[in-house]
Symmetry: C2
Subunit: 279 residues, 2 copies
């Protein structure tokens, strides 16, 4: 339905929220520029409708952007999804930035996943992982290949040693179960007056750790074509599908409708489901 | 070989370490009495040789005990293993107490696992979990049944809200991957002079949480006979076997030889491998 959008006059939309500049968004932009430089023509041009590429709600309190680039035929890339949300709330604003790069069934290598959820100028949740595609308890060799040999745990330690961080636990037990043992899941809390401290951490330690994890993914995962048995591939695809369905259920379908009008959020969610292949 | 044992004179053995009374060992004894009361005849009598039921090293710096009771034929219990280690170190002593109750292939219900590692009178690591037997990302219904509906996360929160606790991360990525999302993995650190504080926590909060988790396991797991497809059971058994092999590799074979003479530790490890069914 277009009812809600049609009822918001153009003048009002012009007054409404814009995506503000923010250190964490610049960091995400640098990462995505790095991905685009490295993956080059293995990413197809963006393919989302204009009213999903940028969207806002009728009252002007929230604005968002979504970009999805599919992998080129024959590449190991399924899609790269980037999104940014800015939503005014009574206490200020919430800003959420995500970069997901998912691989297809030509490889069992982990997906790349970054989510930055900034709840205030001094508080941020960081979710950063090479997202495993196999049952790790059943596949110690997978842990060794992608997580031990790549020394990913050092990146986690480098963030967690900051006195401003504490572990973040998703309320969803499923989400907790799906991450790797080296996942970075932290709250960075700089306390009252800590705006500059957070910005320094974001531009300093966080940027460098996120870049390190991305480099590992680009070097050790993005190119890994792999011989797999039929049964192994089927089981990986089944797992991938459940993880994708559950992530959408837990994360996006829970959050977007709280921020945006129903027609906007359902249009955006539909595009994300399309990218995830779980329409 | 009996060489090392034979060379330790009887007088010296009599002088050597005894298992000291310790709050955490009393808590473990209460739990094991509860298990024995509830499982009753579903546990066969203890079946370890006397020189494994109690063992010590030649220099008298370490003493240990191991008890293994198999499940009765037709029950869902594979085995219950209890062990206690006391080892003098230059700075004091390390005390490790474990209770593992593993189920067999008649059910997919989680195993019970408690490990208390006391490094000093003020410092202790607690590992307490209903140990999952399926790939949780592939089986959200398993999470719901055994972890969400049972509200196990409240037990974790109840320990972690204590200011003396901080998350404990195993250095082994495999071990980290194998636990459930509600696993209690904490260091309780009461700091200098905190002997009484630790003892209060152990007898109070820790005892009550461990009892709560055990009750959940006794009520929701220990009795669960279950129809399973052949393929599902095979895959669960394969997973169980890898987890058992890896746990022994990471945990016991790494620790026991550091504390005990080679003939003692290999005799004890052999008995544990027998219980685990991975000889």
């Amino acid at each position: 339905s277009n009812t809600v959008r049609a009822s918001a006059p153009a003048a009002r939309e012009a007054d409404s929220a814009r995506m503000p500049a923010l250190a964490h968004r610049e960091v995400a932009q640098d990462l995505s520029a790095e991905v685009e430089a490295r993956l080059g023509t293995r990413l197809l041009p963006s393919a989302v409708p204009v009213d999903v590429a940028e969207f806002r709600n009728g009252t002007g309190s929230a604005v968002g952007s979504l970009d999805v680039r599919r992998g080129a035929p024959g590449s190991s890339i399924d899609f790269m999804l980037q999104s940014s949300l800015h939503c005014k709330v009574p206490t200020g604003a919430i800003d959420i930035t995500s970069i997901l790069i998912f691989l297809n069934a030509s490889t069992d290598a982990p997906h790349f996943l970054l989510e930055l959820i900034q709840g205030s100028p001094t508080l941020m949740v960081v979710v950063l992982d090479l997202f495993p595609r196999k049952d790790l308890a059943l596949h110690p060799e997978y842990i060794e290949k992608y997580y031990e040999n790549t020394q990913l745990d050092k990146q986690r330690e480098s963030i967690e040693e900051l006195p401003q961080t504490r572990p973040y636990r998703s309320p969803s037990l499923f989400v907790r179960s799906a991450f790797s043992p080296t996942a970075i899941l932290v709250t960075i809390d700089c306390g009252q007056g800590g705006e500059d401290v957070l910005e320094d951490i974001v531009r300093g330690r966080l940027a460098s750790v996120a870049k390190g994890v991305l480099q590992t993914w680009l070097n050790s995962c993005a190119d890994q074509a792999l011989e797999m048995e039929e049964g192994e591939r089927d089981s990986m695809l089944r797992r991938d599908r459940i993880v994708r369905l559950k992530s959408i259920e837990v994360d996006l379908t829970a959050n977007l409708p709280r921020m945006f009008d129903p027609d906007v959020s359902s249009r955006v969610i539909a595009e994300i489901r399309k990218a995830f292949g779980v329409e």
